[in-house]
Amino acid sequence: MTITHYKQLLLDNKISTKELIQDLYTKSQKYKHLNTIISNNYETFISNCSNGDIPIALKDNFCITNAITTAASQMLKNYVSPITATVYDRLNKNLNCISVCKANMDEFAMGSSGKTSFFGPTLSPWKNNAGVYMSPGGSSSGSAAALASGLCLASLGTDTGGSVRQPAAWCGLVGFKPTYGALSRFGIIDYASDLDTPAIFTHTVEDCILMFQNMIGRDNNDYTTVDVPKASSPKKKVVIIKKLESDKTIQANIEESAKFFEAKGYEIKEAYFSFIDYVVPIYYILSCSGASSNLARYNGVLYNNEVSLNELNDIFAKTRGEFFGEEVQRRLIMGNYSMYSGHVDGFYNKARRILHNMWLEVQNILKDADFIIMPTTPGIGMTAEESKTDNPIKMYLTDIYTCFVNLLGLPAVNIPVELCPDHGTPLGIQLVANVLEDHSLLSHANILDKHFNFYNKNSLLQRKIV
């Protein structure tokens, strides 16, 4: 059920919050095998909720007091934070949201399928026409899968390179990544400080707008936050990016969306991304460097001080080798490599220089347009088996259309459009706007979402498959 529908039912006295949470709890037991949840609070809230509370899931890198926040890593398996993430605190106070569960994720948000979690991979509730479980995508795998299975009414994730938009596309959900700085990162476990963005999963854009409005505003605890200005009047122009390879059904939906806005008097402009071939390497150089910096603190002194050896460097190395998973170690090494003084100029600094040119190019495209319509992912999704591939590059490449958004700090949203005719699994498309145009982006996305009406027509919940 959507938040909007839930609020109506509450008004009409057709449901109580307690009943709802009871249902969600029962469902969470039924779908335990999907492994979407790391820890949960259903039972506590069944006895302790207020009528009107909105049950949501939080990706397990959002800190809450009196709860364990693990980032799906053995390094933090017992970590209890003394602070609560600002965005959840605001949702709790402004909208009566309650966190009924901490969702599974890729370890430290590094992954695109959920399989790098210390607690095991997450399965999507979606199965393809052959009956095979799909991968929910990642790194916010559990947040997406839990919402798609109906274990909560909305969920929060983080989007550093596409980690909310990609799983949203693969799970048939709305996945909105705001402008960098629009939402506070205080209380969210750091991956890459210049790219991390708290982001929202909902069934409809209408729900997303409600959530977003109750989370925004500068935070004194996060000096990188900004106020999002009111929506400006539309420029009545949308942009299609040519030469982006993707599945033909996705292309068709992009064209349909363009025509939809054209019918409303919008001009359609075409443009090209000259940088699309290097965006994945640039993203991985910069995000892995960020990770290498932010994860350096986990060295066995304050966290996981179980390793006892005589040499300091041995303690550091052994702790990190033992308590970080393989993908995390891979990215830390890549990050270190990019930053070493011998090659920092060829990797890290070069990436930053190219980034500057990318910014200019995209500004030129967006300067007189409302938004870009493009694919969220090149492909239609992977099965859970396929996602277990030994080839990390294959997974990195699923970020190709989402990561430039993080590199430039832009707002973007995945809208679910229809089911893939060959496989019966969800497809999504992506709208991308210029910085701080979040409200205008969401209001356009809302119109498009209502046009495709994926939730009512195709969601597992409405079709009573879950």
Binding site: S193, N221, D222, Y223, T224, N313
Partner: protein, 467 residues
Amino acid sequence: MEMTNFDVGLEVHVQLNTNSKLFSESKVDDSGMANSRVKYFDLGLPGMLPKLNEGVIEKSILLGKALNCSINEYSRFDRKHYYYPDLPLSFQITQFYYPICEHGYIELKSGKRIQIRRIHIETDAGKMIHEGGLSLIDYNRCGVPLLEVVTEPDIQNIEEATQFVKELILLLKAVNVCNCNMEHGNIRIDVNLSIRNHDGSLGVRSEIKNLNSLKFMCDAIEAEYKRQKNSVETLTQTTRGFNTIKKTTFLMRDKEDCFDYKYVPDFNIPPLHIDREYIDSITLPELPGHRRKKLSEYLHYESVDVLVNNIELYNFFQKACNNVNNRQLVANLLITDLVSLCKKAEIEVYNCNVTEEHLRDLTIEIENKKITSTTAKIILEEIFNNGKSVKEIIKEKGLSMISDINEIEKIIKQVISQNTNKWQKFTSGEDKLLKFFIGKCMQISGGKIHYDSIIDILFKIKNTVII
């Protein structure tokens, strides 16, 4: 061993005396139990973000201006990564690429200028203590704001190094950015030393870290010079510590072990854009150099030194000089007499019975020839012990100067008649006996005859006799 042909550059880490830390609201003070001044960000807890203490910017600009630096409108914070238990984040936040101040100098008393390459803001790390086979970590110091003052290798002997640090401390006190207590670790010095190559170019340098007293700095310079001079192997760039007991430097790491700090910007702290207007609005108080010049116009250099080096004495002196003509007299009474009285009694000058007004009154009485310098000392001691005003004591003890020439002659003639032998010798040319006769006159008169008057009349009598 004579130390020649070497160059020293210093990196001085100065702990700022702000109320809170650089990026968190923890209190900064030297007291407090271990781990009682730590907030979540200092510990590097995940999800915690830095909040810039803007007071640090003002203090940085003050010090930059006092050191004649240019203040950069744009500067930025970077991360310097290394692993150590007293560094919870495993990186220090510093300003590697764009420091806040650059290109300044400190002028030594000799007139030589030691150039300042840069001043940048950074965080301090915690403290490790090794006790009973355990390594204990106190995080109180984590995140304390530091200013690092980096010089060019302009220092060429130990005396210059000492003068530089002393002058820097005077400046730090003048602009009030540091408590300057070296025993508490408020100031720590790293020494970079190299011996010149034969062709006159700078030699291979070594860095000696963490010297927390002037004496250790000087000893370390000497020890390292000796080591480099006596080294048979080719010198390599090393980072060293100083063993204060053995007085030698020891290897901490060499170029091979050289740690790569992987400097990248800290994105959680937006870059600093400081208004030129704001920079210009920050005014400096009177600096030691200027004060020194000013005082030298009317004071002896030894007095100038004492007053420039001690702010409390200077303030006392300034007040006591109100309406006084001969400020050297005030300085003498203060520095020679009052200070030693206070030292003996183990109290501070501003806590004793003698006030600035007392010194002023005394000086005016001397200027007006009501008392002599000798009686002034007696009066001063009386005030120190028992309070009361200058005029009261002069009256009570009858300490007014004897200015009647006849009376003075009488006293002098009395001394002469009691010391005829010596008088004979004096009149025959033993001029050194002058002191003896002055002393005796002072003794008999209780110091109430002006020194000049004694000499005048003594010579009058001597010459008259001859004639």
